[in-house]
């Protein structure tokens, strides 16, 4: 990685953090409705992972998707506008927080029905295998999703058909209010992968470099024909499951301990320790991120609402 890329990835993480903080404010002001799931604490996961991707690799994820959207190249403007349900959002305001998508970025979106996108990921990968193209599908999901049938069918099928998929479990140790041990027969998700004969690797998701390097290696192996592999990334969401979560199911101490492990702080320290960037250069990136997000919020707030007739558009393909 050259210096430019290092700074770029650092800035992406900061942009995600700022977008999420502003989203929380906008939610509290009643400007974002419905349900809002923040990615704060998990920024290194998607940033490291998506940095290992080539444009031909489809990406698909669950509803905690604002960060992934940004990493895939959707602008902060379009993300925040979508959060506000504006016409200028990446899904024209129809999707909202959980359903960001942009086909031009080969980003197949956020999905709100837990686990439902895993078989779809197998289908994306089937299309690549069928056409003998080089794409490797990256499919992200939570630990909770590993308990629903979709997960097991999708893993099994991808292995039997030798599909080019990297299954990425973001193990943030809770599915809503339920700790992994209370919902899953095994607490290491890679054990589930091994049940389907799949290579599994379990890594620390608070460290961007570890995520990036592991993902690069696994993607290369899959691209070379290894068949599907499984990457379990240990992480933690610093905030509640969604806005308004009373968080009775975990102790404040535990949360604080993880918050000390801030992925942005860890990466900042890495860049300084390895003399890749100076304090000044990183502060500059912080400022750039701040500015970009401020502009995004202004853009979103001043954007128009979708027009009434949008309600009836795109039910079927328009010919």
């Amino acid at each position: 990685m050259d210096k430019m890329e290092h700074l770029d990835l650092y800035r992406q993480m900061v942009i995600i953090r700022r977008v999420e903080e502003r989203a929380a404010e906008l939610y509290q002001q009643g400007k974002i409705g419905g349900f809002l799931h923040l990615y704060i604490g998990q920024e290194a996961v998607s940033t490291g992972l998506i940095s290992a991707r080539r444009p031909e690799d489809p990406v698909i994820t669950a509803y905690r998707d604002h960060g992934v959207a940004i990493n895939c190249g959707i602008s902060a403007k379009e993300v925040v506008a979508e959060l506000l349900g504006k016409a200028t959002g990446c899904s024209g305001g129809k999707g909202g927080s959980m359903h960001m998508a942009d086909v031009t970025k080969n980003y197949w979106g956020g999905h709100a029905i837990v686990g439902a996108h895993l078989p779809i990921a197998s289908g994306l990968a089937l299309a690549d295998a069928y056409n003998k193209t080089s794409g490797v599908t990256i499919c992200m999901f939570g630990d909770g999703a590993s308990n629903i049938g979709y997960f097991h069918e999708a893993l099994n099928l991808s292995k039997v058909w030798n599909l080019p998929v990297l299954w990425v479990c973001e193990n943030n140790q809770y599915g809503m209010g339920t700790a992994v041990e209370r919902a899953s027969a095994v607490s290491e998700m890679i054990q589930k992968a091994s049940g389907y004969g799949m290579k599994g690797v379990r890594i620390n998701g608070m460290d961007l470099m570890e995520v990036r390097e592991t993902a690069e290696k696994m993607m290369a192996e899959i691209r070379a024909g290894s068949g599907p592999q499984f990457l379990e990334i240990m992480t933690y969401r610093f905030r509640g499951h969604s806005m308004g979560d009373p968080e009775r199911y975990r102790k404040a101490d535990e949360v604080h301990q993880w918050q000390e492990n801030d992925p942005i702080g860890i990466h900042r320290k890495y860049l300084l320790d390895h003399q890749i960037a100076t304090e000044e250069e990183l502060n500059q990136q912080d400022d750039l991120a701040e500015k970009e997000v401020q502009e995004a919020v202004e853009f979103a707030e001043s954007s128009p609402e979708p027009a009434a007739e949008e309600l009836f558009k795109h039910i079927y393909v328009e010919e």
């Binding site: 419905g34 349900g85 129809k94 999707g95 909202g96 709100a112 629903i148 199911y249 009434a308 009836f312």
Partner: protein
């Protein structure tokens, strides 16, 4: 009498039924320690323990599947599906298993199970947290489908559902959980599954609705009453089996029928009500039957204005009533 919200009435019904019958238990995602995402089961975990208020893995198919198995074996499960939008992974279990057990065994197997699921839009939930799938269940013999519109009925109907020897799908209007309040008497009572209820008597137009739309229909009726239009409001309450008698009797009185639901129009529950009227009260009609429903689009969009355009509301219902009254 105590005034309470819809969700309090639902919680009280479960509490009383659990106290009454040790075979009643609750299973669902985060129903225990967290007390449910809508807080319907708050306090029950502390009161009845982890064996009777069971946190399940994220697996709807299995929540319903274990409900069926336990019910066959004499238990009385209350299965919570967190949002009705998540019920489809369990659809096969409900349609092919629960609904057919009694029939296929010539009456030997029974499935005394309740599936509770919050439904409906208007809360900014977007496509996957706003659905109203009742019509997909209300055409399945072997199931009973219930949707309460007020705290009294919610409590009484849920208690009946728990005691019913058949599988009951109990859809709850989530927008009304805290919005809809009403008097609920102390102590034991039930509301029978089956009969609809005339919630407001009138002579000019009959409005048929359930759940949240019934709440809005009453508001609309009140509004147009000031303009001299007398509306009879019928709360359908039980969608399946259908209370055809009450529907027909109302149309016989008013000669005009408006059916309101937020699920989309085509193939919706309103089609069954309209067909019932066409078959049984044709000569009583003074105007074509009118349906005011969600539009035929794949889901409730996220954006606020788009959601508002999707949802029926008291204003839209009032104008539909006026048009019918003028006819």
């Amino acid at each position: 009498m105590t005034e309470m919200t819809l969700i309090e009435a639902i919680r009280q019904a479960m509490d009383e039924e659990m106290a009454r019958d040790p075979n009643v238990f609750i299973v669902g995602e985060d129903v225990g320690i967290r007390g449910g995402v809508f807080r319907a089961t708050v306090g029950l975990f502390d009161k009845y323990g982890a064996d009777r208020v069971i946190d399940s893995p994220l697996a709807e198919l299995s929540i319903v599947g274990v409900g069926i198995g336990a019910a066959l074996y004499g238990m009385k499960p209350i299965c919570e599906i967190q949002f009705s939008d998540f019920i489809y992974p369990a659809y096969n279990q409900i349609i092919s298993e629960a609904a057919k057990m009694c029939y296929r065994s010539n009456g030997e197997w029974t499935v005394p199970m309740v599936i509770r699921a919050p439904y409906g839009g208007g809360i900014g939930g977007g496509l996957y947290h706003s659905q109203s799938p009742e019509a997909m269940f209300a055409q399945v013999p072997g199931l009973k489908v219930v949707i309460p519109s007020n705290p009294y009925d919610a409590k009484g109907l849920l208690k009946s559902a728990v005691r019913d020897p058949n599988p009951v799908i109990f859809f709850e209007p989530k927008k009304g959980y805290r919005l809809i309040k009403g008097e609920v008497p102390e102590g034991e009572f039930t509301v029978p599954i089956g009969p609809a209820r005339i919630s407001r008597a009138g002579t000019d137009v009959s409005v048929f609705a359930y759940g949240m739309m019934h709440y809005y229909a009453l508001q609309a009726a009140e509004k147009v009453a000031a303009e001299g239009i007398s509306v009879e409001v019928v709360d359908l309450r039980t969608l399946y089996p259908v209370d055809r008698e009450t529907i027909l009797a109302s149309v016989q009185r008013t000669g005009k029928a408006l059916i309101v639901h937020e699920a989309n129009l085509t193939g919706g529950y309103g089609a069954e009500v309209a067909a019932t009227i066409a078959e049984g009260a044709f000569t009583d009609l003074d105007a074509p039957v009118r349906r005011l429903c969600g539009p035929d689009v794949p889901g409730v969009p996220f954006s606020h204005p788009l959601q508002d355009w999707f949802m029926p509301n008291p204003e839209k219902i009032s104008s539909a009533i006026r048009e019918l009254a003028r006819y």
